[in-house]
C-alpha cells in the first residue's frame, strides 16, 4: 500500500503539466476558471490542439492512434488538464462512440470515422434519450426500417447535448419490436446533414442552450452505417457504459472549483466566517474522500485484481459535490447572486457588473448543475444499482 504515485507516474504528470500549460490557450483557461460561457470555437480549438498532439483520444489504445496510457496516466492527464483550466473534452466522439467503433465497427468504419474523431475535426452527438424514455432507456421508440441498402429512420431524440453543433450522431434505434425491449435495438451512425434531420433547441432553466431535441423524419441512412449486427445495439451501448468511468466523478474539476469557491468566499468576506467556512471544510473532506475513492478504483484497475464495483457511488458523490460547490459559491455571493445578467456571463463583457465580475455567472451555474444528479442515469437509478451490490 502506498499513497504516492511512482516516480515514472510523477514524471509523466510533470510532462503532461508542462505541455498543457504551454498549449492551453489563455483565453480559454480564463473562461473555465471563471465559469464564463464557452463557445463552439473554444471547445473545438482545444480539441484540435489535443488532436494534433494525439491526446484527444487519450483513452485510446495505440493500435488506433491513441497514446496507450494506463488508467493512472489517464487520470493524471485529466487532473492536469482540469487544474490548468482546460475545458472538458466533449466526450461524444472520442470517449463515447469511438470505443464502440473500435470494438464493434468494421475495419472500413474504423478507417472512415476514427481519424475525424481523433483530430477533433468532426463534432459528434449522442442520440440515446427520448421524450418517453428517461431512466427507462430501453423503452426507446425511434424506428429504423431496413429498405434495401438503407435504413429509414423516424422518431425523436431529446436532451441531445450540443447537437446544435453536431455533424454526426450515433443513435440507438428500434429495428425490431419482438422480444424484450432491449433485444430490438440497433446502433446507427447518422450524418446530421441528411434530409429530414431537424434540431430544435431546448432552453434550460439557466437560460442556456446546451441540449436539443433531434427529429428524424424519414431520414435515409446507408446500411453501412450500422455498427455490428442489427438488434445488438443494446449490448454495444452497455459495453460503453461499463467502460472504466472514474472520470464520471469529475473529482479533478471539483478540486479546481473548490479553489474558486475559496477565492469567492474570501473576496466576499465569508471565508473567515466560521459558519460559512465550516461548510467549505465539509466539502473539502468530501472531495478528498471522493478522490481517495477514485484512486482506489485506479489502483484496482492497475493491479488487475479485485475490480471495485462502485461506479454508482462515484456518480452519486461526484454529482452531489458538483451541486454543492455551485450552491456554496452562490451562497458566498449572498444577495449579490440575485442579479442575472446573461451578457455579464460572457467573456469580454464591457458593461458594469453588480457587486463583482466573479459573481455574475454563479446563479446560472447553480441552476445548470441541477442536471448532474439527473443525467447519465439519475442518482435514484444509481442508488438502485448500488443497493443491488449490497442486497442482491
Amino acid at each position: 500500500m502506498d499513497l504516492a504515485f511512482t516516480p515514472e507516474e510523477q514524471q509523466f504528470r510533470e510532462e503532461v503539466r508542462a505541455w498543457v500549460r504551454a498549449n492551453l490557450p489563455q483565453d480559454i483557461a480564463h473562461k473555465v476558471h471563471n465559469a464564463l460561457h464557452l463557445t463552439r470555437d473554444d471547445m473545438q480549438r482545444w480539441a484540435r490542439i489535443l488532436g494534433k498532439k494525439g491526446w484527444l483520444g487519450y483513452g485510446w489504445p495505440k493500435q488506433f492512434g491513441g497514446p496507450g496510457w494506463t488508467a493512472v496516466q489517464k487520470h493524471l492527464f485529466e487532473e492536469e488538464a482540469a487544474l490548468a483550466g482546460a475545458p472538458r473534452i466533449v466526450p461524444f466522439g472520442p470517449v463515447m462512440v469511438a470505443p464502440v467503433i473500435m470494438a464493434f465497427g468494421s475495419p472500413e468504419q474504423q478507417k472512415r470515422f476514427l481519424p475525424g474523431i481523433a483530430s477533433g475535426e468532426v463534432w459528434w452527438s449522442q442520440g440515446y434519450s427520448e421524450p418517453g424514455s428517461g431512466s427507462d432507456l430501453a423503452s426507446l421508440k425511434t424506428r429504423a426500417e431496413r429498405r434495401g441498402d438503407k435504413y429509414i429512420v423516424n422518431g425523436q431524440k431529446t436532451w441531445t447535448t450540443l447537437a446544435q453543433y453536431g455533424e454526426w450522431i450515433f443513435c440507438l434505434v428500434r429495428t425490431s419490436t419482438e422480444g424484450k425491449p432491449q433485444t430490438g435495438i440497433s446502433f446507427l451512425l447518422i450524418d446530421m446533414k441528411s434530409p429530414g434531420v431537424t434540431v430544435r433547441p431546448i432552453i434550460m432553466l439557466d437560460g442556456g442552450h446546451e441540449v436539443n431535441e433531434v427529429f428524424f423524419d424519414n431520414v435515409e441512412v446507408p446500411a453501412e452505417n450500422l455498427i455490428g449486427e442489427e438488434n445488438k445495439g443494446w449490448t454495444y451501448a452497455k459495453h460503453l457504459l461499463s467502460h472504466e468511468r472514474t472520470n464520471i466523478a469529475d473529482v479533478n474539476r471539483a478540486k479546481r472549483e473548490l479553489e474558486r469557491l475559496k477565492r469567492i468566499a474570501r473576496s466576499e468576506g465569508v471565508y473567515t466566517d466560521q459558519r460559512f467556512r465550516d461548510e467549505i471544510a465539509k466539502l473539502e473532506v468530501d472531495i478528498v474522500a471522493l478522490e481517495m475513492l477514485v484512486l482506489r478504483v485506479l489502483s484496482a484497475e492497475k493491479s488487475g485484481k479485485n475490480p471495485l464495483d462502485i461506479a454508482g457511488l462515484l456518480k452519486i458523490k461526484g454529482s452531489e459535490i458538483q451541486q454543492r460547490y455551485s450552491e456554496l459559491m452562490m451562497l458566498a455571493a449572498g444577495p449579490y447572486a440575485l442579479p442575472f445578467i446573461r451578457e455579464a456571463m460572457e467573456a469580454g463583457y464591457q458593461g458594469d457588473y453588480v457587486g463583482a465580475a466573479t459573481l455574475a455567472p454563479l446563479a446560472a451555474t447553480y441552476f445548470n448543475m441541477r442536471k448532474t444528479t439527473i443525467y447519465g442515469g439519475s442518482n435514484e437509478v444509481q442508488r438502485n444499482i448500488v443497493a443491488q451490490t449490497v442486497l442482491g
Partner: protein, 371 residues
C-alpha cells in the same frame, strides 16, 4: 389560539387567486419576464384589487389591514410567481405608516394605495451583506431639507420605482429618508434577477431627501421584518404550487411501465417535502402573528421563521426538480420557474446561514412558540 381565516380573509384570498388564475397566466408572466421583469399595468391591477393599499390606513385611502391579510395575499402571489414586488410595497407603506411624520404620510400613502407611486426600500450596500447596521450612505442637512449620497444595491424594481426609502448616516447615526427617483442626483441601473424579476443599482449624489425618521435602524429592522414575513408567506405559496405540480407530474409520468408515484423511494421523498411544506407554513403563520410583538421577541421570531423557510424552500425546490428529471431543468416547464423563485427568496432579507446565526445569538433559556 386560532388559525382559521376569517370570511373576509378567505374572500381576499379568493379574489387574489382569481386574478392570478385569470389575469396573470404563465404566458403573461413569461412575457413580462422577457420584457424586463416588471410590468406597470400588472402592478396597477394589484392596486385595483386594493392590495398596494393593504398596509395603508383607511384614512389615507388604504385598506388598513394587518399581517394576516398580507400573508394571505403574498401566499397567492407566490402561487402565481408574480413578478411585481407587492411585498416591497408593503414594506415601504408599513414603514411610512409607522414612522413617517404626518405630512409625509399624507403625501405618499394615498399614492401608494392607488398604485400611482411605487415606493421601495433601498437599503442593501455592497459591504453590508445581510447586516443592517453597515451603512456608508450619508445625509447632511441642507436648508430645511437633506442631501443624501451613497449607493444602494439590489433595489426591487429600482429603475421603475417612483421613490425610495433610504437609510443613511446623519450625524453618525442611521436615519431613514425618502428620495424621489426623479430628483436630481439620482441614477439607476436596472437588470433582471435570477427569478426573472427586476432590480436596480441606485446611486444618490447629493440628492434631495426627506427625513422619514431619525431612528433609522429601528425602522429598518422593522421594515426588514415585514419583508421577512412577506417572503415567508410568498415562499409558502411557491412551495404549495410546487408540490401540486410535482404530485401531478409523478402521477402522470411513466417509467418502466408505471407512474413515478409508484416508486417508494420517490414517495418517501415526497413525504419529506410535505414535511418541509407544513413546517414552512407553520413558521410563516408564526412570523405574521409575531410581527407586532415586542422588538426582541419579533426579531427572534423572524430569524426562526426565515431560517426554517430557507431550509424548506431549498429542499422542496431542489427535490422537485430532481423528481421531475430532465423536464424539471427546462425553461419551457413552469416548474423550473418556481424553483428559481424559491432560490431567490432564500437570498433576500438574510439567507439561511445568516438567520441561523441570528437564532443562535438570540437564543434564550426557555424555548417554544410563546417564549
Amino acid at each position: 389560539m386560532d388559525f382559521n381565516f376569517s370570511d373576509e380573509q378567505e374572500q381576499l384570498r379568493d379574489a387574489v387567486r382569481k386574478w392570478v388564475d385569470r389575469s396573470y397566466t404563465f404566458e403573461r408572466r413569461q412575457g413580462i419576464a422577457k420584457a424586463g421583469g416588471f410590468d406597470r399595468s400588472a402592478y396597477n391591477e394589484l392596486a385595483e384589487l386594493g392590495l398596494t393599499g393593504l398596509y395603508v390606513p383607511e384614512d389615507h385611502g388604504g385598506m388598513g389591514m394587518g399581517p394576516v391579510e398580507a400573508m394571505v395575499v403574498l401566499e397567492e402571489l407566490g402561487r402565481g410567481i408574480v413578478l411585481e414586488p407587492l411585498g416591497a410595497t408593503l414594506v415601504a407603506s408599513g414603514v411610512i405608516a409607522a414612522y413617517a411624520p404626518e405630512a409625509l404620510k399624507s403625501q405618499w400613502l394615498p399614492k401608494i394605495a392607488s398604485g400611482e407611486a411605487l415606493v421601495v426600500l433601498a437599503y442593501q450596500e455592497r459591504k453590508a451583506r445581510y447586516r443592517l447596521d453597515v451603512c456608508e450612505a450619508t445625509a447632511t442637512q441642507a436648508g430645511s431639507g437633506w442631501k443624501l449620497s451613497g449607493e444602494k444595491s439590489l433595489v426591487p424594481a429600482g429603475d421603475q420605482a417612483d421613490a425610495f426609502l433610504v437609510p443613511a448616516k446623519a450625524n453618525g447615526k442611521i436615519a431613514l429618508f425618502l428620495v424621489e427617483r426623479n430628483a436630481q442626483g439620482v441614477s439607476t441601473r436596472g437588470y433582471p434577477t435570477m427569478d426573472e424579476a427586476r432590480a436596480a443599482e441606485v446611486k444618490f449624489q447629493d440628492a434631495a431627501a426627506t427625513l422619514v425618521t431619525a431612528d433609522g435602524l429601528a425602522a429598518l429592522q422593522h421594515a426588514v421584518d415585514v419583508g421577512i414575513a412577506c417572503t415567508c408567506a410568498e415562499g409558502v405559496g411557491v412551495i404549495d404550487r410546487t408540490m401540486e405540480l410535482t404530485a401531478e407530474y409523478m402521477n402522470t409520468r411513466k417509467q418502466f411501465g408505471v407512474t413515478l408515484a409508484t416508486f417508494q423511494a420517490l414517495r418517501h421523498r415526497m413525504a419529506d417535502m410535505k414535511m418541509q411544506q407544513e413546517l414552512a407554513r407553520s413558521m410563516s403563520y408564526y412570523a405574521s402573528l409575531k410581527l407586532n410583538a415586542p422588538v426582541e421577541e419579533r426579531l427572534r421570531a423572524m430569524a426562526r421563521a426565515k431560517y426554517q423557510l430557507g431550509v424548506a424552500m431549498r429542499f422542496v425546490g431542489q427535490n422537485s426538480v430532481q423528481l421531475h428529471g430532465g423536464i424539471g431543468v427546462t425553461d419551457e416547464y413552469v416548474g423550473s420557474h418556481y424553483f428559481k423563485k424559491l432560490t431567490a427568496l432564500e437570498l433576500v432579507y438574510g439567507d439561511t446561514l445568516h438567520h441561523l446565526g441570528e437564532v443562535s445569538q438570540r437564543m434564550q433559556d426557555t424555548a417554544g412558540v410563546f417564549a
